[in-house]
Symmetry: C2
Subunit: 300 residues, 2 copies
């Protein structure tokens, strides 16, 4: 491990989990953390989210081998500008944002001549803030790196080694493909969940109390991801707009086909569609991306 000193900018769920994971698994690496919120810095210091919690950006990135930007994707541009004069020459600048084309563009523009290698660990929970992080967040999950075409292969290899040491499996793809894949596996599911929870709250004929009481019929599953951080998700949709709108269009077409089948009483089409979806669940479990226990292993 050539990386000896890591600066974490943003100490929420992702930044905090990174600090804890590094401290647990890479004890020889020195971690420094910064957050623009004083209250978050205080809490981060209490929880030990980094070896040292710094009060300024200048302090956190001083002599860093790796700077990890763990802020909403809409804040990347401003933070990168603030860092431009501060980042050491040999340092790798990376991030954990959920969209990659916009982050790549923003970081490369703000940090000319620096080694920028955007990354996205596909991991998280519905919680946020400095109390939400935990060291095992990345274990067994995938981390996608989207290096620019001219990124030095040895620096990409260093970043890969770093993520693998935290328990993640690394995949490399171009930023455009990343944004399309994640639109399907993450962004559209979140948008749908936010929307249905909103629809249910706005009803007049069905009270909010009824929605809550009978949520075990399926609705409660959607409320989990709809409880995710609003700032983070606003930024994801604004920064991965094209892929999200493209995928949303396909989902809406498919939903209209379902609607037509229900309206016309076409049970065969419904049955055929509902039969195909089990196989994907099975594969996700087989590949270790979810628990096999029924009902997510909820207590009964």
């Amino acid at each position: 491990m050539t990386i000896r000193r890591v600066a974490i900018v943003g100490l929420g769920l992702l930044g905090g989990s990174l600090g804890l994971a590094i401290r647990e698994r890479l004890s020889e690496v020195k971690t420094l953390g910064f957050d623009h919120s004083e209250e978050t810095r205080r809490r981060a210091a209490e929880r030990g989210l980094a070896d040292t919690v710094c009060d300024t950006l200048a302090e956190v990135v001083r002599e860093a081998d790796l700077v990890l930007l763990c802020v909403p994707v809409g804040a990347m541009k401003a933070v990168a500008s603030d860092l431009a004069a501060l980042v050491p020459a040999d340092c790798i600048v990376s991030d954990v944002g959920s969209s990659k084309q916009s982050v790549m563009r923003d970081l490369l523009a703000a940090l000319p001549g620096k080694t920028v290698i955007p990354a996205h660990p596909v991991a998280g929970t519905e919680e946020s803030g400095p109390d939400a992080g935990f060291p095992g967040l990345f274990a067994g999950r995938w981390c996608i790196l989207t290096p620019p075409s001219d990124a030095p292969p040895d620096r990409v290899a260093e970043l890969r080694t770093f993520w693998e040491a935290l328990g993640a499996t690394v995949e490399i793809m171009d930023a455009e493909h990343h944004d399309l894949v994640l639109a399907v596996t993450s962004h559209i599911p979140h948008l749908i969940a936010f929307t249905i929870v909103g629809t249910a709250s706005d009803m007049e004929e069905v009270t909010r109390s009824e929605v809550i009481k009978y949520s075990a019929g399926g609705f409660r599953d959607f409320t989990r991801i709809a409880a995710s951080d609003p700032t983070m998700w606003r930024d994801v949709f604004l920064h991965n707009r094209d892929a999200v709108l493209e995928m949303l269009g396909r989902f809406s077409e498919d939903l209209t086909a379902m609607q037509r089948a229900i309206r016309s009483g076409d049970g065969d089409t419904l049955f055929e569609m509902f039969s195909r979806t089990r196989a994907i669940r099975r594969s996700i479990i087989e590949e270790g991306q979810d628990d096999a226990a029924p009902d997510f292993g909820r207590r009964h």
Copy 2:
């Protein structure tokens, strides 16, 4: 408890869980079970899903105080017709179906003069069949009774006592309102989950392997309910068509509003919507309808 002998028709997840719950919590009650599938009867006998597994409908309902129909809602009419000549005079005929107007209509038509009190325990998992049931399925869940307006109050009270003894909390409402409430809290969430899982499987630019690998971004949550029993769900949509189409229309309107906000870069609307949905999650947890543990308590 005036109910001494219960006949369970259909030994899948719900019927099997009922048998096991009664045997565990109401040891003085005799349970008899029947399923039209010989293989299911064999497995039900092995697992002890009922005190006695019968080979005929005539045998299972003989001298029953309560008959529980645990079959897909599309099969209610035929099963009720077969039972018409067999059900004892004082017996309560009930069910566990997810839609209630159609079941009420089918049972009342097929069983004139009998005491019909439809019911819906709002509980389940994504599994099905005779191996899926477990005795704690109904504990802490709601069970909705939708008695016809002329149902004898003392018989409704008997059925309420029965469900409460299994750990459920009972609510009484009319069948039409039930169907509207469950369209929101259960049927539309399932339809959306089936649809998005289908959309993701059909993509050409994103491989199935990528969908599975990066499913921890949110998608995997939807695959759970999209793995539910296809026959059961086909029947629910065909039998609660009007309420489902009404609610689907509202969801689609709300989704279109989200789409417009994304297209026009209206971050304030997105943020406002995403901020409102957290409160519902909190209430669901406070009222014991889901676990508080982040990420459904999945192991990390």
